[in-house]
Amino acid sequence: MESKSFTTGNRDNPNTDLHGSKNMMASHFLRALFRIQQTSTSSSSFAGRSRRIRRAAYASMAYSAGARRAWSRALLRKLRSRARLRFPRRLSRTARPQRRDMDQAQVLRKLVPGGPSMDYCKLLEETADYIRCLTTQVRLMQTVMDSISSYAHHPMIP
């Protein structure tokens, strides 16, 4: 029943291949989320709030990965230095036809934080960890989303 192997997020079941630092990620993100909710007034714009939430998501990702990873370090640097920066940039690249090989690596470097300063081998490694972290974050957000919406749909049980 309880398969302990899944807690490590191993590759046996890619669907549940979540990052090892999921708890930290969850705590950080949820705290940030509620902080945003508390500090946001009715006058604050929807776009601003969503931007803040997105930044909180990336921050929680970076904090959970810590300084171990090159991408998390680069992400933290970006977060601290440019608080106003919208990241990642709008993904308009998908419409353009992608050329092979060299450009692919370049595109990947732009996607993964800290990409430009890595060699190809390291880039793949960081991409893998980044993907794991991203999937964890996405699922966390989905969970929060679902729990909130289900609460909204189903009234409280007395």
Binding site: M1, E2, S3, F6, T7, R11, P14, T16, D17, L18, K22, N23, M24, A26, S27, L30, R31, L33, Q37, F46, R49, S50, R51, I53, R54, A57, Y63, P88, L91, T94, D101, Q104, A105, L108, V112, D119, Y120, C121, T127, Y130, I131, L134, T135, V138, R139, L140, M141, T143, V144, M145, D146, S147, I148, S149, S150, Y151, A152, H154, M156, I157
Partner: protein, 455 residues
């Protein structure tokens, strides 16, 4: 004592073929690709520089240039004049077979590490040799040092692939020459392997090219063998050789220059090709891992296709984050939540308010529970928990006394979250009213916990 070894070395110019036969090869001579020329050149330069070398140096040098059988006889010789060696475990693996057979087919990284450990055990009795060796090595073996450094650098890179259990052998391989000698005969095994590999690679005849690549692949297989990726890596290496992906090609010239600067003349090509193969193997391993990670990539075999898929997946994930953050921003005002931090020791941000609802704890339970395949859960219980989740002004002081998230999991026992989680986390969710037996107790626990929470 060492005369019998030095004499044949110096006199015959390392005509080792006569004395060494391989039992596993059915008594045949060593493979023709054994680089007698390389050996001879190296040994001559080595022997030229050190006429007054101490016996252990000669022995070690001799052992490096000879197949493993020599190592065996060397150890036997030194056993007679030295102390008790204890378990001659590693020798048993090398006994009676030529180094080609042994090192290429049997000397896996694990064995090497074990051998290193075992080598080092008896080595403690010979501690008096160590400073001795180091000094002489530093002084007299400089021409060989760069060569071996390059070799060990390559092999260190190759061995590094094997992670945890090979750590011992990594130290052996990646150290410079003096360190290797001083750490007893451990590197003899590894160095012999490296000499084997590189000497095999360095043979420049066209007929041996195939054997070189074969040996390389086999040796890389052995070094990465425990994963069971050998065949796939073989194919991948073949693939990559055939396809000639541009990106690793772009990287390789840089590395090639670095390597050629380091390597000695004789072993010029050997560390380069080793390094390239090691890099290729690394890259292919990582691509394989990414293939497992990115859903729906199992059918795609091309490198470019894989990269495309990876890029698309990363972009889609980032888009999802954006989309979800927008959704959360839209939903957020509807919640009337007094969520304060509930973390004690595990806080990242120390400036937390007093703990109220263990929502965060429960949400982390969500994550935890998602891995535990709990099976079906009742939906009404889920209601209760979601109610619990979002009710304001709940003071779960009792529940949250232990601030670790794991304990929250235990306290709340909210297996009900799996209902949602299994959807979220991709685990198959079996909706059903009939709860499994194990859940009875959990449900039983849930109510008192709820009551506790609502206090």
């Amino acid at each position: 004592m060492w005369m019998p070894f030095v004499a044949p070395l110096a006199a015959s110019g390392l005509d080792l073929r006569d004395t060494t036969t391989c039992r596993s090869c059915q008594g045949g001579p060593l493979p023709p690709s054994w680089p007698w020329r390389v050996e001879q050149r190296l040994s001559r330069s080595v022997l030229r520089t050190g006429n007054n070398w101490p016996p252990p140096i000669i022995r070690i040098v001799a052992s490096l240039f000879t197949p493993s059988l020599r190592v065996l006889s060397l150890r036997e010789q030194s056993q007679s004049d030295a102390k008790e060696f204890g378990d001659a475990g590693p020798l048993k693996t090398l006994k009676g077979s030529c180094s080609a057979c042994e090192l290429l087919s049997d000397l896996s990284a694990l064995e090497g590490q074990r051998a290193c450990a075992e080598w080092q055990q008896p080595g403690q009795e010979q501690s008096d040799y160590h400073p001795y060796d180091a000094d002489y090595c530093m002084q007299s073996l400089c021409p060989v040092e760069t060569a071996f450094r390059a070799l060990h650098g390559c092999n260190g890179g190759g061995e590094n692939e094997n992670h945890g259990n090979v750590h011992g052998s990594n130290d052996c391989f990646s150290n410079a020459w003096p360190d290797i000698v001083s750490s007893m005969h451990c590197p003899v095994v590894g160095a012999a392997a490296s000499v084997e590999e590189t000497s095999v690679n360095a043979s420049s005849s066209s007929s041996s090219r195939k054997r070189k690549s074969e040996n390389n692949r086999r040796s890389k297989e052995n070094s990465g063998g425990s994963d069971g990726k050998d065949d796939s890596n073989c194919k991948r290496i073949k693939e990559e050789t055939g396809v000639g992906a541009a990106t690793p090609e772009a990287k390789r010239p840089n590395k090639r220059k670095e390597e050629s600067a380091d390597a000695s003349k004789e072993n010029d090509k050997a560390p380069k090709s080793d390094y390239i193969h090691v890099r290729r193997e690394r890259i292919s391993q990582r691509m394989k891992y990414l293939q497992d990670l990115v859903p729906g990539c199992s059918k795609i075999t091309g490198k470019a296709g894989m990269l495309d898929e990876i890029i698309n997946y990363v972009q889609s994930l980032q888009r999802q984050v954006e989309f979800l953050s927008m959704k959360l921003a839209a939903v957020n005002p509807m919640m009337d939540i007094n969520i304060d931090s509930l973390f004690g020791g595990r806080e990242i941000n120390p400036t937390c308010k007093s703990a109220s609802i263990p929502m965060i704890g429960m949400s982390s339970e969500l994550l935890d529970q998602s891995y535990l395949q709990f099976g079906s859960l009742q939906h009404d219980m889920f209601m209760g928990s979601s109610d619990l989740l979002l009710r304001p002004n709940v003071n779960p002081a009792a529940a949250v006394s232990d601030t670790s998230l794991g304990s929250c999991l235990n306290v709340n026992g909210s297996s009900v979250w799996n209902t949602n989680l299994q959807n979220v986390y991709g685990v198959e969710f079996q909706l059903g009213r009939g709860t499994a037996l194990p859940f009875q107790s959990l449900q039983g626990n849930l109510l008192p916990n709820n009551l506790k929470m609502e206090m």
